[in-house]
């Protein structure tokens, strides 16, 4: 068996302000898995993603990360677009850093913009986009370079249900063809269950993983499954776990 792609053992993260965001976190993600992370607002989900991306250093504990050369895609919780660059240039950035010219990147970017519904806005500047459009540009950017690990922090929160479902399906299709590992933060139990193989539920801050729900449904998953009782039951299990996590007294 190959070693896990991500492995965190007894991780603490205390910020300079003194806030302990994460305490004694244990996490284990295999290469190619699709894992969702759920938890109350402010519990440390974003912090975990940042730790996994290497953007923060743990205060304590051991963290094994993918090799430095591995391409990581990251959808930040805020759109994080360069305000001086057009949507096209923003999406181009990861490829550009990797040495790909505008011409060679054009097809891929056009396709991606199409699928996030931003065709016609390639030349718009971020300040001229709606909130959801910014987020979609940011999603396109994370996918433009075939990632080995895709970290997404509530990517679809600002989108309407229909766009959201379409992008859920697109994401699953990309994941299945791309074979990347996906760590997905969301507040939607339905989304977490629909997308992932495992749903991890975090406790209140200082956050740690308190429960894990396995979703047995094989891929490809279709919208039809959303109406099945299996789906509803799994969602209910996650919701209950979430409720337990929220009411758990701080250890």
């Amino acid at each position: 068996m190959s070693p896990p792609l991500i492995e965190a053992r007894h991780l603490d993260k205390r910020f300079a302000t003194g806030t302990l965001a994460v305490r004694d976190l244990n996490l284990h993600v295999e290469a190619g898995e699709f894992v969702s992370l759920l938890g109350p607002s402010g519990c440390g989900k974003s912090t975990v993603l940042r730790l996994v991306a290497g953007l923060e250093q743990p205060s304590r504990g051991r963290l094994r990360l993918p090799k430095a050369e591995a391409a990581v895609g990251y959808v930040f919780q805020e759109p994080t677009l360069m305000p001086w660059a057009s949507v096209f240039d923003n999406v181009w950035l990861p490829l550009r850093i990797a040495g790909c010219t505008r011409e060679r990147a054009r097809d891929r970017i056009d396709t991606l913009l199409q699928s996030v519904g931003l065709q016609g806005f390639a030349h718009a500047f971020p300040a001229e986009l709606s909130g959801g459009m910014k987020m979609r540009a940011s999603i396109a950017r994370a996918l433009v370079r075939q990632p080995v690990l895709l970290l997404m922090d509530e990517p679809f929160a600002a989108l309407d249900e229909i766009t959201r479902q379409k992008l859920n399906d697109d994401l699953l299709a990309w994941w299945r063809t791309g074979g990347f590992t996906s760590l997905f933060v969301t507040h939607s139990v339905f989304e977490a269950v629909y997308l992932s193989q495992r749903v991890l539920v975090m406790s209140h801050r200082p956050g740690h993983i308190v429960e894990e729900v396995h979703v047995e449904q094989p891929y490809p998953r279709h919208s039809a499954w959303r109406t099945s009782s299996d789906y509803v039951q799994t969602c209910a299990r996650v919701s209950q776990a979430l409720e337990r996590a929220q009411t758990e007294v701080a250890r």
């Binding site: 290497g54 360069m82 001086w84 950035l93 850093i97």
Partner: protein, 301 residues
């Protein structure tokens, strides 16, 4: 950033020219682009350029007040000449003043270019390493606070060409605001965007070009606005101390000549030219700021 801009962008640019009317609440009825080209369209367009005629008007009013003051208080011309006398002198000496002006302009823009390049490059170097910054910044400050007059002998000894000496002195005066502002600007990049570049493993050079420099642009341009005037005054002061009469001479020589020969109207004519040049340079950088920040930075929107 993008070579081909859609027509929408062009429209925005057009619009962006006029910062005042955009702030006004437009009545709905006027919002549809209208006003076909009438004979007086050019004139009306000029009227809409508040950034041109408001300052011009203010300067004219000030000039009239000055004229009035001089006449009313009977200030003798050798203390403070009236604008009419200054203009008469400007007209009478137009030839020599124009030559001098052109020489000063060349030094000013030469030094400004060097200051912009030098300041930005040095700032980029500082941004690449906090250690370099801490080690070298003191020297930049030393340059800024050393009076040219004091080191003029050294420059005269080691720099043969007068033009080179003038450029050097002017550069010393002008480069610091650009350096200091750009260093701050480079540090002001959005931390989230920094993280993004880290994540994509951008090289130092890529990070500098695509993240830090655009982030620093508003500060850099702010530095340019300061350095524009400073390099003009620097060119004049440099010529005071390191220039020589006779051959290539600029406005400083005209100022000094007029001063030593108590020709006050001519002195003020030269000062007037300097002032107008300063205003023009500032206006130029305002336009530059609008051009390169207009579409994305709050300061120009």
């Amino acid at each position: 950033m993008s070579p081909a801009r859609p027509p929408e962008a062009a429209a925005a640019r057009q619009h962006g020219r006029d910062p005042v009317s955009r702030r006004k609440v437009r009545p709905p009825s006027r919002s549809v682009p209208s006003s076909p080209a009438t004979p007086s369209a050019g004139w009306r367009r000029l009227l809409a350029r508040h950034d041109l005629w408001v300052p011009a008007l203010a300067l004219i009013v000030a000039t009239l007040l000055w004229e009035g003051l001089v006449r009313w208080a009977e200030i003798p011309h050798y203390i403070l000449p009236a604008p009419t006398q200054v203009l008469a002198s400007l007209w009478a000496d137009a030839g020599s003043l124009a030559t001098a002006w052109w020489f000063t302009i060349k030094i000013t823009f030469g030094a400004l270019l060097l200051a912009a390049l030098g300041g930005a490059l040095l700032a980029a170097l500082f941004a690449s390493s906090r250690w370099i910054e801490m080690a070298l910044f003191p020297f930049a400050i030393v340059l800024q606070v050393t009076p040219i007059v004091a080191i003029a002998p050294l420059i005269i000894i080691y720099v043969d060409s007068t033009t080179a000496a003038l450029l050097l002195c002017t550069w010393i005066v002008a480069f610091f605001p650009i350096l200091s502002n750009t260093v701050i600007g480079l540090r002001s990049a959005d931390p989230n965007l920094r993280d993004l570049f880290t994540l994509y493993r951008a090289s130092r050079w890529q990070r500098l070009r695509w993240l830090l420099l655009p982030s620093a642009l508003p500060y850099f341009v702010a530095g340019l606005k300061i350095a524009g005037g400073l390099s003009l005054i620097g060119a004049v002061v440099a010529e005071f101390t390191a220039g020589a009469a006779g051959r290539e001479t600029g406005l400083a020589s005209r100022i000094q000549e007029a001063s030593f020969r108590t020709d006050t109207p001519k002195l003020y004519a030269a000062l007037l030219l300097t002032s107008l040049t300063g205003i023009a340079i500032f206006w130029l950088f305002n336009a530059l700021a609008r051009w390169c920040l207009g579409r994305w930075h709050a300061s120009e929107r």
